[in-house]
Subunit: 137 residues, 3 copies
């Protein structure tokens, strides 16, 4: 069994921002030389997400508007009594998910026609990390 | 390490429809001859889901009613300005999830008493695909 | 390839209760002697969750309050016509997730600074099980 572990770093300009990282994950899969296996891609911070959906800017706006309806940003969250102001970000990341597991077949991400891997930041403007771990043969 | 990759195709009669696919995944696990490992089951389309829950028709109706409350179908989504009418389906699939990873022990899906693997379609009436990837020994 | 399968049992005092199980998963990873691989941690019941987030009691209260807004507990769910009273618990578990997949590097859970693995119970006061499955080398 082969394995490869790499990290991707993000430092977004906006507090909430989604970034397509498909190319970076594909590069790591190629570097691993794994032909058949799985790749785990997960946020290492608990106020950000990794998810798979469309690379379409209108839909990204729709996601962010909808998340602000599901998770009000101004409420009196108990978590914020600790001095934090990002309780909403923990909840939004839960809706969008921590991780994806993607099949590797013939040395490539085995994707449907529109699948793209996104980093979802909910409390940005600072350096945060994503893990990419490949296992297989 | 052994691996096996297969696809399941769905073409639902209704735009929103949930289908139990546990038997089909079990068949692929058996065919793989993997005794100890993992199986990844994921939607290859970004308007459908794979999730694990109960094979109970009342609960399936509850899920669909609840999703329509969380994700209004008639709103002015920006994604729909592109000519699409399925923005809601991208959001519903996010709530229900893209994928499941299931343990294989002794050559079988290692499940609790009520766990069943479902395909969740949110923009159906057309052919769509699910990936099943088994890895292990 | 090595593998190890273990189960954790929970019997919560409250119907809805979240429990930090990071130490127990770490112990199983160590016991497996896997240095590079993945660990799958999943609820085996369809009214409970496994998720990764903060070990902060205020945030745990925020999660539970928010879930009760997203998923009303008193509604006339069709599932409850079967004699059950836990339809809400199936829906809450869907928001929080069934499973996590975590990287193992150098024989340890490969985590960011605040990541903790939680059991999320939504219909407790009875014995329920979580699976921990390690694969790797």
């Amino acid at each position: 069994m082969k394995s490869l572990t790499e990290h991707l770093w993000f430092n977004t300009k906006n507090r909430i921002e989604f970034i397509n990282m498909t190319d970076k994950v594909e590069y790591i899969v190629k570097k691993s030389d794994v032909k058949e296996g799985l790749v785990l891609v997960n946020a290492m911070h608990i106020t950000s997400s990794v998810y798979i959906n469309d690379a379409e800017s209108g839909l990204i706006n729709d996601f962010q508007k909808w998340l602000k309806e599901l998770v009000p940003m101004g409420e009196d969250y108990q978590h914020n009594f600790t001095g934090e102001d990002n309780a909403y970000a923990h909840l939004m990341r839960t809706v969008m998910g921590r991780e994806v597991v993607v099949a590797i077949s013939n040395g490539k991400l085995d994707f449907g026609p529109w699948e793209q891997i996104y980093y979802g930041e909910f409390d940005g403007k600072r350096k945060k990390r994503v893990m990419v771990k490949v296992i297989g043969e």
